[in-house]
């Protein structure tokens, strides 16, 4: 049976690799889209930051003529004095303010401007520095320094794994989401084209009139869709690796960059095993829906809600830590995301991996059996 299924797989793959448009959407797009997004984002962000740092701001200081404050501001920001009406930023001290007294300082600015946001952040830092300087002066009158007030020091002992500390937790947040999305998207196009698409083109009936069993045909199609889904997810992963190792991309992906992040061989094998089982599951579900649908359009209407569900799961689990709740590893897609999170953070639990793979394969088998049943029934040919 598998030999016959491989004939189908071989033909479909040959057709895929000769079709430039499908190759572009399945492999090239996932490969380049993330580097383009993140490198583009990194370049734009650093350019905006540089522009904000180098600009001269019109600032009005109201109610505090202390030269110490304006000198501190000049040390951090290029600015020129103006009236409150013309100012990018107004720093208002109370009318009765005298240096050293308690007061509320109001910063007035338009928060919709990123440059003004930057100016307000710098002004906040300057106010803190000014406050510290005034405190030092006051303490010196009593023969004390500011350091005399620091009686307790806090030290952090991070118990997270090395991988998590070096930026793996940030990867664990983003990568599983993108990979699951592209894996599912890859299986959608191929799965619908090879089932309801063939129904529409009338070629399915001819395919069924030969010496190969229909179960073999069903398996051949599921294997083909799995391979496409896996290739799409792999291209996404490769795209992310490219992004990681390019400085501008890495900085946009994770603040501070990802120079220290390295994916170990164990993590890589866990990711591959998880993706393989997920690809098979995704392929069998999409192929099943494609077989039920009479046309590609109808098939799309069945698959889209499922795709939205995958996106929703991806988004809701994005900020979640890898769960210790074993039951979650029985739920497809959720288990894939958590398993990849564990891999990136260097905290893989063998039982979680086993449950994930077995659960995905069990659901995939149920889907494949239903596809096989449909192929062996007359319903597979229904187009009206």
């Amino acid at each position: 049976m598998m030999n016959d299924a491989l004939i189908i797989l071989n033909k479909e793959l040959k057709n895929l690799f000769k079709d430039k448009r499908t190759l572009f959407s399945t492999f090239l797009l996932p490969l380049v889209v993330l580097p383009i997004i993140f490198i583009g984002m990194g370049t734009v962000l650093s350019s905006m930051e540089k522009d904000a740092q180098e600009s001269t701001y019109a600032i009005a200081i109201v109610g505090n003529p202390d030269p110490l404050f304006s000198d501190l501001l000049s040390a951090h920001l290029s600015w020129k004095g103006t009236s409150p009406e013309k100012a990018d930023l107004t720093i208002t001290f109370p009318p009765s303010y005298a240096p050293g007294t308690t007061a509320q300082v109001i910063l007035t600015f338009d928060s919709s401007s990123r440059k003004n946001q930057y100016a307000s952040q710098v002004a906040t830092q300057v106010i803190s520095a000014y406050e510290l300087e005034l405190a030092r002066k006051l303490l010196s009158l009593f023969g004390l320094s500011h350091e005399d007030l620091d009686t307790l020091e806090v030290a952090y002992d991070d118990t997270a794994s090395e991988a998590a500390q070096s930026g793996g937790s940030m990867l664990a947040m983003l990568v599983p989401y993108f990979m699951v999305i592209f894996l599912f998207a890859g299986s959608m196009n191929a799965g619908l084209d090879t089932t309801s698409g063939e129904k529409e083109r009338g070629s399915l009936a001819v395919l069924l009139v030969n010496q190969v069993s229909r179960t073999s045909i069903a398996w051949g199609k599921i294997l083909y869709v799995s391979v496409v889904a896996l290739c799409s997810a792999s291209a996404t992963f490769l795209g992310l690796l490219i992004t990681m190792y390019l400085p501008s991309g890495s900085a946009a992906l994770v603040p501070g960059g990802l120079e220290g992040v390295a994916i170990g061989s164990t993590a890589l094998w866990v990711i591959i095993a998880t993706l393989l089982s997920t690809a098979l599951l995704s392929a069998s579900v999409v192929t099943l829906l494609g077989c039920i649908a009479k046309t590609v359009k109808e098939g799309s209407s069945y698959v889209m809600p499922l795709y939205m569900l995958v996106v929703l799961v991806g988004v809701t689990t994005m900020y979640m830590d890898p769960s210790q709740n074993v039951l979650l590893f029985f739920i497809p897609i959720v288990n894939t995301i958590f398993m990849m999170k564990e891999s990136f953070m260097g905290m893989v639990v063998a039982s979680h991996l086993l449950i994930t793979i077995l659960s995905n394969l069990a659901f995939a088998m149920v889907g494949a059996m239903l596809v096989s049943r449909l192929f062996n029934s007359e319903r597979i040919l229904q187009t009206v």
Binding site: D4, I7, K11, K14, N15, K18, D19, R201, G202, S203, A205, V206, L207, L208, V209, N210, Q211, V212, E378, L381, T383
Partner: protein, 247 residues
């Protein structure tokens, strides 16, 4: 030879049962073209798909060269070539690659596939197109490839379901010429069409279907004489009209 005896077939949905073919019987002989004619929805495609083992009859017996389409379906599939007008071959595979693929599906030896491919390419005058991707071929040449696909395994019985629908004049001629050649070679050809002029030119026997029932069946000339009509079109409309008045 194809024998259809008291074939009935219905489609069941949640709400209703639609009787698509109702107790029809006919025989298609070797070396002849049998035309199954009727308007859309008459039950032609369902009948041909049942013969091609794609559907199972609710009742009745269908045999191909004496083999039962239900219990001996794999052997039947080895003897039939099935082509549907709905089929629109496309994709980046060449005709040669596609024929090799179908040869593998039919478990044919490689050298036999190559020999048959060459024979068919010569017969259908498409040798120069064998290595062109299907997507780049004209509708006529694509139809030639479709014919080659259905006949690669040298079937004795050929089932053509609306083979000329959606085809231009040139492509239609290719199909017509091929049907004549198959008949001359002693094959049993069953052709479903709603283009009556094609049927009149090609068919030795016809069966006219309307709303799942076979209104008449027999040699074309005999049917024309029996009903006192000049041509197939007149016969067809008279019978369909009578079928509507006396369902």
């Amino acid at each position: 030879m194809i024998e259809v005896k008291n074939l009935s077939k219905s489609y069941k949905s949640h709400k209703s049962i639609k009787r698509v073919v109702q107790d029809i019987s006919f025989t298609a002989h070797d070396g002849q073209v049998f035309g199954l004619l009727g308007p859309n929805g008459a039950g032609k495609t369902t009948t041909l798909r049942t013969i091609a083992t794609l559907l199972q009859p609710d009742s009745g017996i269908v045999t191909v060269d004496g083999l039962d389409v239900v219990t001996q379906s794999r052997a039947v599939r080895d003897r039939i070539g099935f082509l549907t007008g709905e089929m629109r071959l496309t994709g980046q595979l060449t005709g040669r690659e596609l024929l090799r693929f179908f040869g593998q599906l039919d478990h044919m030896a490689k050298d036999r596939v190559e020999r048959r491919m060459q024979e068919l390419a010569n017969d259908l005058e498409m040798t120069q197109y064998l290595d062109t991707p299907i997507a780049k071929l004209s509708s006529g040449v694509t139809q030639k490839v479709s014919i080659a696909v259905s006949l690669l395994h040298e079937p004795h019985v050929i089932i053509f379901d609306e083979p000329t629908s959606n085809l231009d004049v040139m492509a239609t001629k290719i199909v017509s010429d091929f049907i004549r050649a198959a008949k001359k070679a002693g094959k049993c050809v069953v052709l479903s069409t709603h283009i009556l002029s094609d049927a009149q030119r090609l068919c030795d026997r016809v069966g006219i279907m309307h709303e799942g029932k076979l209104l008449c069946e027999g040699p074309l000339q005999q049917l024309l004489q029996e009903h006192g009509t000049h041509d197939l079109e007149e016969l067809f409309f008279r019978l369909v009209q009578e079928g509507r008045e006396h369902p």
